[in-house]
Symmetry: C2
Subunit: 169 residues, 2 copies
């Protein structure tokens, strides 16, 4: 399937929102990984020339390892938790955005919910479960975004001791 | 490796604690799945005849889908979150107990933390990521526990609409 202009628009906006989450975490002294869960806006189909966002943010979050001393609130888990309990069919129309390649737990969470598309800011600073996602039929898009890479690289340089526990590697 | 008597003792106790968590959740109207993270007690090696538990509970929890309207606090995630931020080597000596076969998210969480042993109460009411765990070198023990099976079966019969969302199947 060809990426439509509206997909491109949504993906640019979705990743920008995930990066904003990552920057919020960085500003708090935390691990700068952010994530959002989006669905296309239903109004989009009705009137593609309508102003305003063509998608709806279901949930957003960032890594909370430092801030909440949390072992499980990775960015993607935080976004899914923020989205709350959704019907199965909502997940099946959603895209999960994350600034960094997802670890095995977050990969498994995407599979659990049957999320069909995962857009990843970068996989230079960490490579997670992309192959497993693809093997399970998930569409994986790696943007190789310069801002995502630069933010994570800066954090790793500044706080190598915390970075070691980003994904417990 | 042969299962030692102390492993058998720990596993019986660990699963009993997980089942107690599941029963707590059931009593609250929630999904009756429980989990605990255990390590052998260091005093055990020093004096195997010492009274008291031969293991230490690092974390315990149960599914919070109903109670907290949580999309991500499965029993295993709740137990890992309760255990807090641990050093990588602590996970590598730990066993994760869960009353029901773990979903893909919780499977991924066990892999993320490098937990080498997962003890599962039953896999009759749901089969999760056991094959993936084994493929990654995790020792998986399915107890086929009558009490775990009966509790989950009772819940599914009483609340089929909630049970459908146990693992979003
Ligand atoms: Ca929200
Ligand atoms: Ca605790
Ligand atoms: Zn993760
Ligand atoms: Zn689970």
């Amino acid at each position: 399937a060809q990426l439509s202009t509206s997909d491109e628009h949504q993906d640019a906006q979705g990743l920008a929102l995930a990066l904003a989450q990552a920057r919020t975490s960085y500003a708090q002294g935390g691990i700068p990984i952010g994530s959002v869960l989006l669905v296309p806006s239903s109004s989009h189909q009705a009137n593609s020339d309508a102003p305003g966002p063509k998608f709806k943010v279901l949930g957003a979050g960032h890594n909370q390892r430092v801030q909440k001393s949390s072992a499980t609130l990775h960015a993607e888990i935080a976004a899914l938790e923020d989205a709350g309990r959704l019907k199965a069919e909502v997940y099946r129309g959603a895209t999960l955005y994350t600034t960094l390649s997802p670890c095995s737990m977050c990969t498994g969470a995407a599979l659990l919910y049957g999320i069909p598309r995962v857009v990843i800011g970068e996989n230079v600073n960490f490579v997670g479960g992309e192959d497993l996602l693809r093997a399970q039929g998930v569409k994986v898009i790696v943007v190789d975004d310069a801002d995502c890479k630069a933010l994570m690289a800066k954090f790793i340089e500044e706080k190598p001791e915390v970075s070691l526990s980003i994904h417990l590697v």
